[in-house]
């Protein structure tokens, strides 16, 4: 480890390696690992306890499966029911390499597409495993009664999604995430009835307990009574989802947070690639300062809608129907004639931002571009368009009050998914032994960019098939020595939680939590959003630090701890976002290349496209918490491509 501060912001530590992935032919690695992982005698399982935080696809599936296997599981979520985890919002579908359509799909092709889609910043062995178990997921979900779309003959239907050339996406109308989650939830509730899983709803994890270098429990707050409780176990699983809400406005649910993973990070778990965020191009634009969240519109709209802005900035407030054809700029079709409106998410998003930066953005605030269906309506008729997109049009109308059959839709990119998360090895174990991380919460198999319909696949793969198999290797060495509630580590963890709560309630400040969150969001979006540059990121770090300092002295949280107190809940989450935001900017700053969702203005080709720099940056960044007043430490995990050749993306 060098002691030099790089850029005055971080240090570089020793490289890190994934020691668990077996070597050899990629097709055999997962079987090999499963075989090598130690077994736990069924009679002993009852004596082994596991805490699972999060009941989304990853956590719900993991808790249910571990319960079925006979472990003693405690599951936690902050909503009033495990069924409400944010996985429920996924619309599009889930990939699986079943090759039901006989169109040449295979495990290998799914593997290849995912590595390439992630812009070569994911591990080959992980991604291959993901592709491999994908088809088991479909079998499992169908057996649970998940009502996937079917053809008239009774077979499962597939569609192609996100520009992929094979039909491998399984879906349940526009509610795939909901149906999959309900399947996992029902499996979980079955285990609750069996007594193998104890469910704690409306409980928020606020601290991780680490004893003798192992994760041994968590501190949670009962969000109804305010009681701060200690839960101890042999292993802890975090499946707490993504942190897109650091941007304040995102397509994530209101409660999505980084607290669980961030607290673990502060206790020693490395944070992987925090700056990798995915920005989705087709969301409904912000309508005003009061806006609380952004709504995603399915990407399929780009199949038929044409995206444009007025050529002249002064036309931006005109009724779009009054703007003649020659005054419209169909900029995607102009710049990317080959792909047109169908360029990948990151490119479409960035292009929209540039138009708005140039003052041509439409709608209130000038942050929007038109997605126009008049041409296709004229060509195939209103009824056909309605059959294809009717429900989306209705949703748009419901939210904006405008009728997209008459007036062009307005869309704008929004933060959607975070590829970054806690760093884990092939076993999904973090750098703290006994702490496992699954689903969107880990730094995941998606590299620098996630392909559509693959997050659901990853969550369920982790939860049903990977984690239950790898965690047993760890549990086989247990039960670990019992930890007493009065152990110093436990007392310290609990105290840090209670004193934080007291600090919020006693800091009789003047600004509300939300106003800080909003300001942080503005900073992040401005400087660490769709495109990033050195100067902006430095400014952002600076501003976040100032904001954080002010936050702790001037935030206003009313009420008490011993009751439902939503401002208090948010205060804790925003405090952690304020620390995460800084790390994201530092990560974005240190990665002086463009890759996937991360676009550094300094690293682009002559015609303005993203340029990867594999010689320097073909690694995953695993950040270690440096301490309260110290800078973070970067550990690089080199990514080795044995099977897939690295190529530069091009969509011209």
């Amino acid at each position: 480890m060098t002691d030099d501060l790089i850029d005055g912001l971080y240090r570089e530590g020793a490289p890190i390696r994934d020691t668990k992935a077996p070597s050899g032919p990629i097709e055999q690695r997962w079987s090999k690992r499963q075989f090598e992982a130690k077994l736990v005698n069924p009679a002993n399982r009852r004596k082994l306890s596991v805490i699972v935080v999060g009941t989304g696809l990853a956590g719900g599936a993991a808790a249910a499966t571990l319960g079925e296997q006979g472990y003693q599981v405690s599951a936690f979520c902050y909503q009033d029911s495990p069924r409400r985890a944010h996985s429920i919002a996924a619309q599009g579908g889930m990939n699986a390499a079943k090759n039901y359509k006989g169109d040449g799909d295979s495990v290998y092709r799914l593997f290849y597409d995912t590595v390439k889609g992630g812009d070569y910043r994911a591990r080959e062995s992980n991604v291959y495993r993901l592709a491999e178990v994908s088809s088991n997921i479909i079998d499992q979900c169908v057996a649970q009664g998940v009502p996937f779309a079917r053809e008239y003959g009774g077979l499962l239907d597939n569609r192609s999604f996100g520009g992929v050339q094979v039909s491998r996406t399984f879906y349940a109308r526009g509610q795939t995430g909901q149906q999959l989650l309900i399947g996992a939830y029902q499996a979980l509730q079955r285990q609750v009835a069996e007594g193998t899983v104890t469910m704690y709803s409306r409980h928020e994890m606020l601290e991780l307990i680490v004893v003798d270098g192992r994760a041994r429990g968590i501190i949670v707050r009962d969000m109804v009574s305010g009681e701060v409780e200690t839960h101890l176990a042999d292993a802890v699983v975090l499946a707490t989802g993504g942190y897109g809400n650091v941007f304040f406005l995102s397509t994530n649910a209101m409660g999505c947070n980084v607290t669980a993973t961030w607290r673990a990070h502060r206790k020693g778990a490395y944070f992987g690639n925090p700056c990798f965020t995915q920005i989705h191009p087709t969301c409904i634009p912000v309508a005003g300062e009061h806006q609380s969240k952004l709504t995603l519109m399915s990407e399929s709209l780009r199949n038929d809608g044409r995206i444009w802005v007025p050529k002249k900035a002064e036309d931006r407030n005109k009724d779009p129907r009054q703007i003649p054809e020659e005054d419209r700029d169909y900029y995607l079709e102009r710049i990317y004639p080959a792909f047109g409106n169908l360029v990948p998410r990151d490119i479409a998003s960035r292009a929209a931002k540039y138009q708005c930066d140039a003052g041509k953005g439409v709608g209130p605030g000038g942050l929007g571009v038109y997605l126009d269906f008049s041409e296709v309506i004229g060509r195939v008729g209103r009824d056909t368009v309605s059959a294809r997109y009717g429900n989306l049009f209705d949703m748009y109308k419901q939210i904006t009050g405008e009728d997209p059959y008459e007036v062009p839709m307005r869309i704008y990119p929004a933060v959607h998914y975070t590829m970054g998360g806690l760093w884990v090895d092939y076993d999904l174990q973090s750098s703290i032994p006994g702490l496992f991380v699954a689903g969107e919460a880990n730094f995941s198999d998606h590299g620098a960019n996630r392909l559509g319909a693959s997050a659901l696949m990853q969550g369920l793969s982790d939860g049903y098939f990977v984690l239950p198999n790898t965690i047993r290797d760890y549990l086989a060495s247990g039960p670990y020595p019992a930890v007493d509630e009065s152990a110093p580590e436990v007392v310290e963890a609990k105290k840090s939680v209670t004193s934080r709560i007291e600090q919020f309630l006693n800091s009789k400040g003047t600004r509300t939590v939300d106003s800080y969150h909003r300001e942080l969001g503005h900073i992040m979006w401005e400087y660490c959003g769709m495109s990033r540059n050195r100067e902006g990121l430095l400014t952002a770090v600076d501003r976040i630090r100032t904001l954080r300092k002010e936050y702790w002295s001037n935030v206003k949280v009313l009420g008490e701890n011993e009751q439902i107190n939503q401002s208090l809940e948010r205060a804790g989450r925003v405090a952690d976002f304020l620390e995460l935001g800084e790390l994201m900017c530092i990560d974005a700053l240190h990665r002086r290349e463009s890759c996937g969702g991360h676009f550094r203005e300094e690293s682009q080709t002559e015609d303005g496209e993203a340029e990867r720099r594999d010689e320097e940056f073909a690694y995953a960044a695993a950040w270690e918490w440096g301490g309260e007043d110290s800078s973070p430490v970067l550990h690089k995990e080199d990514l080795v491509y044995e099977f897939i050749e690295l190529k530069q993306r091009s969509y011209k």
Binding site: Q79, S81, R84, N136, Q140, A143, Q144, F148, M254
Partner: protein, 247 residues
């Protein structure tokens, strides 16, 4: 727009509650109903009064977390979730009364937040297919006719919001139950446990203290996911069959 809201305030489960009026002068018709409450809460917090507690998460109409009684209608005047309701559905100067769901099994925890844990326990009683991870057969080994698949889907769309209970004069949760019983009952995978499922779920329903259904139909009118009333009939039919078989 100017709006007056009368909101149910109650500090805790055992505390008494009452309606309190608040004034909002600058409401935009494009705001969602919950954003209107967010703004009100910011105002309250700034002036030193505790914000109104209400549940919401996805704000997309899918998680089922939100749910308010608005002027006597569950989820308000439109057939949608509370989070998908917008202020343009109200008129300038209107007074809006906002209450929590009311049913004995849905205890009010604070202000507009209720405890819907009873729904989870009903699902635990039998709302699942018993299949352990890893033991599933190949997905294509069982065909499902499209009509059954479609009906299963229509009924699986229930988001567990509880509006059906809130709107039912008897505070019965029959629509919620019927939706699950129909969803699993339409699929071949759900057959082995079909008879025991309906009996167990109904027993749990009654045990939780929900009222009995007298086929009023208010539930289906309030359901944001348009779960049709015939699921209750399906539930009754399944129950009758199960009883004949001696469950």
């Amino acid at each position: 727009m100017k709006i007056t809201v009368k909101v149910w305030r109650q500090t805790g489960p055992e505390a008494p509650g009452k309606l309190v009026s608040y004034q909002l002068d600058d409401v935009s018709p494009d705001m969602s109903f919950l954003e209107m409450l967010d703004v009100l809460n910011e105002n309250l917090a700034t002036s030193g009064e505790e914000p109104i507690a209400f549940d919401s998460d996805c704000r997309e109409g899918i998680c089922g977390m939100c749910g308010l009684m608005i002027n006597g209608s569950a989820h308000g005047p439109l057939r949608t979730t509370t989070c998908q309701l917008h202020m343009r559905s109200f008129s300038d100067g209107e007074t809006i009364t906002i209450e929590p769901w009311r049913a004995e099994p849905f205890k009010v925890l604070r202000d507009l937040i209720v405890d819907r844990g009873a729904f989870d326990r009903i699902i635990s009683a039998g709302g699942f297919v018993s299949v352990n991870t890893g033991s599933a057969p190949e997905a294509h080994s069982t065909l499902v006719p499209k009509v059954n698949a479609d009906r299963a889907f229509d009924t699986a769309a229930c988001i567990g919001c509880g509006a059906c209970v809130a709107a039912c004069p008897n505070a019965a949760a029959m629509l919620f139950l019927g939706a699950k019983v129909t969803h699993l009952g339409e699929l071949p995978q759900g057959q082995p446990e079909r008879d025991s499922r309906v009996v167990k779920m109904l027993n749990q329903h009654d045990h939780e203290g929900f009222g009995g259904c007298t086929n009023v139909g208010a539930c289906a009118d309030a359901c944001p996911k348009e779960i049709p009333l015939d699921v209750i009939s399906q539930l009754n039919q399944d129950l009758r069959r199960a009883m004949v078989k001696g469950y």
